[in-house]
């Protein structure tokens, strides 16, 4: 090759490199986005938008009341609601643990049988507890308050705790227009639970890297979509495709809100079985605090449909609630009793699924998950993108002392209770 030809070749190479460098951003961006099919995109979009339309605790007339929310927040962290002042709701639902507790099985006054679920986005669930024994957040709140293994309180104890503290009593009166000192204790218990339900109903987690990706796909913004990590994209493709995870982990909450049997052992201890959903339905029906009870503010209508029409079936044995996967990376360990320590272990359960261990009557929903080690890592990467970065960072707002002022003027002062002004 002559010297001039060599320089021409070098010049051409440099020119190509310059052109390539200028073009690189769009080319690289497109290259970093998998070629999702229209059907895959449709399935991905079904997992949003986030946040969903606002919702409120069912059968709870105070669910949207700022006064009740304020009271509920205080009660949630107040250990005096437990019989010996050692436990509060936050003992098992700690903000720094994404409103769970990081244990396989929670610790009450004794070791308990189940894992504490995160309370993030509880308001968007249909049933509460791994067995769905409660149909509202407020009714679910009553159970640990009274359970001898947990806070071991009573209606009288809760009523005394509320009435005996100036701030609590003031906030109670402000929220419910009644003096807790003269209330029927069960009334105060239910009101306290509704206040807690109102507060927990405000715990809606923020947007995640997945949500940004999902919305970028929806708007056709390929550059924005390409910022989503490739391993998460691959994991997502498996999630909505070959993994068939969306059979149960569907919609913006990544759960259909019902129950399923995935072949997990359901012995609590040798000789004792956790009845799961079957026991939950029976407990729900027997509850004095369900949405059909006199304590419910639901008064019929759509809110009570689920409770009116639920029916125990034999296949409910061995079924536990399908949890939301939002913030799943923040709430290890996993399953109703925390028997799986990591997300990788969860995937391993589905890979090694023993169909003979499925308890339900001939159901054919699950098949062993056929993925290799790399695909397994990709799915974990995807699941990690379902976390709100603030899931462990909830902070209580600043509070001011409670004040109740009497009305004056045209309405006059008709009496302490009727003259209360909410602040």
């Amino acid at each position: 090759m002559s010297l001039s030809a060599r320089w021409r070749r070098i010049g051409a190479a440099v020119l190509c490199a310059v052109i390539g460098a200028v073009a690189a951003p769009s080319v690289a961006a497109d290259a970093a986005l998998l070629d999702f099919t229209p059907d895959e995109v449709r399935r991905i979009l079904q997992h949003g938008p986030w946040p969903p339309p606002s919702a409120h605790d069912a059968g709870n007339a105070r669910a949207a009341d700022p006064q009740a929310i304020d009271l509920g927040r205080r009660l949630f962290f107040d250990r005096r609601l437990s019989v010996d002042g050692t436990m509060s709701c936050a003992s098992c639902h700690a903000p720094a643990q994404a409103f769970a507790d990081g244990r396989a099985r929670s610790l009450g006054r004794v070791a308990l049988d189940r894992n504490a679920p995160s309370l993030w986005n509880a308001v968007h669930e249909r049933w509460y507890g791994w067995d769905g024994a409660a149909d509202s957040i407020w009714s679910q709140s009553i159970r640990p308050l009274l359970d001898a293994r947990e806070m071991a309180g009573s209606a009288a104890h809760v009523a005394t705790a509320v009435a005996g503290d100036r701030e609590l009593a003031c906030r109670y009166t402000r929220a419910f227009g009644r003096d807790p000192a003269t209330n029927d204790p069960e009334r105060t218990l239910v009101d306290a639970a509704k206040a807690i339900g109102a507060f927990v109903g405000t715990l809606v987690s923020g947007r995640t890297p997945f949500d940004a990706f999902r919305d970028a796909l929806a708007s056709g913004d390929r550059q924005a979509a390409a910022r989503y990590p490739l391993d998460a994209q691959r994991g997502l493709r498996l999630f909505v495709g070959r993994g068939r995870c969306t059979t149960c982990h569907v919609g913006p909450m990544f759960t259909h809100g019902e129950f399923g049997d995935i072949g997990l052992p359901f012995f609590v201890r040798p000789g004792e079985v956790d009845p799961g959903r079957h026991g939950g339905i029976l407990a729900l029906r027997a509850s004095a605090f369900n949405l059909l009870s006199r304590h419910s503010d639901a008064a019929g209508g759509d809110a009570t449909l689920k409770t009116r029409h639920i029916e125990p079936q034999h296949r409910n044995f061995g079924e536990f609630k399908v949890p939301s996967l939002r913030n799943v990376a923040e709430t290890a360990p996993y399953m109703h009793d925390g028997q799986l320590a990591t997300l990788d272990a969860v995937l391993g359960h589905y890979v090694d699924l023993n169909l003979d261990r499925l308890h339900a009557d001939g159901e054919q929903i699950l098949q062993p998950l056929r993925i290799d080690a790399g695909e397994r890592a990709d799915m974990v990467a995807f699941l990690k993108t379902l976390s709100d970065r603030q899931a462990r960072g909830w902070q209580a707002p600043a509070e001011t002392p409670c004040r109740i002022e009497a009305t004056s003027g045209a309405q006059g002062q008709k009496g302490a209770a009727s003259s209360l002004v909410r602040r």
Binding site: F259, K306, R308, H309, Q313, A360
Partner: protein, 137 residues
């Protein structure tokens, strides 16, 4: 799940039946489904429509007979997912509204996929089961 009782006849999806062509005409045209078998026609429409995963819905149902005949009574409504071999988690209830009209409350499809409605009409040896499959995503 037991599908057939003695004397029951299973019918597949829909073709127009001239004698009951106006059956269920008052139901919303965009969402109503017509099922027929012999002299019996059943028309239903979900409420709200369209069907959505994880949302309770009702069915408005009209049962018609051929001219001169008496329509069978709607005795039972249920649904399952044939591929998964499981049913709904909720038991629907039927309200007879008079004449040929019924409201069925409390249904929910909790999983995406193919669901199968089952409508049992009549009883005993006169029982007829009409079915209709629908894909819900």
């Amino acid at each position: 799940m037991r599908l057939l009782l003695a004397g029951a006849v299973v019918a597949a999806i829909a073709w127009p039946v001239g004698a009951a062509a106006d059956c269920g005409e008052a139901l919303p045209a965009a969402s109503r489904v017509r099922i027929a078998h012999g002299a019996t026609t059943l028309v239903f429409a979900p409420r709200p429509a369209p069907l959505a995963i994880g949302r309770h819905f009702a069915l408005d149902v009209v049962v018609c007979a051929a001219a001169g005949g008496s329509p069978r009574t709607l005795a039972r409504v249920d649904a399952d997912m044939p591929a998964h071999r499981h049913g709904m988690n909720y038991r629907p209830t039927i309200r007879a509204l008079g004449g040929e009209h019924y409201a069925v409350d409390g249904l929910m499809f909790h999983m995406p996929g193919r669901w199968r409605f089952m409508f049992d009409l009549g009883s005993g040896a006169d029982l007829v089961r009409l079915m209709h499959e629908v894909d819900v995503e």
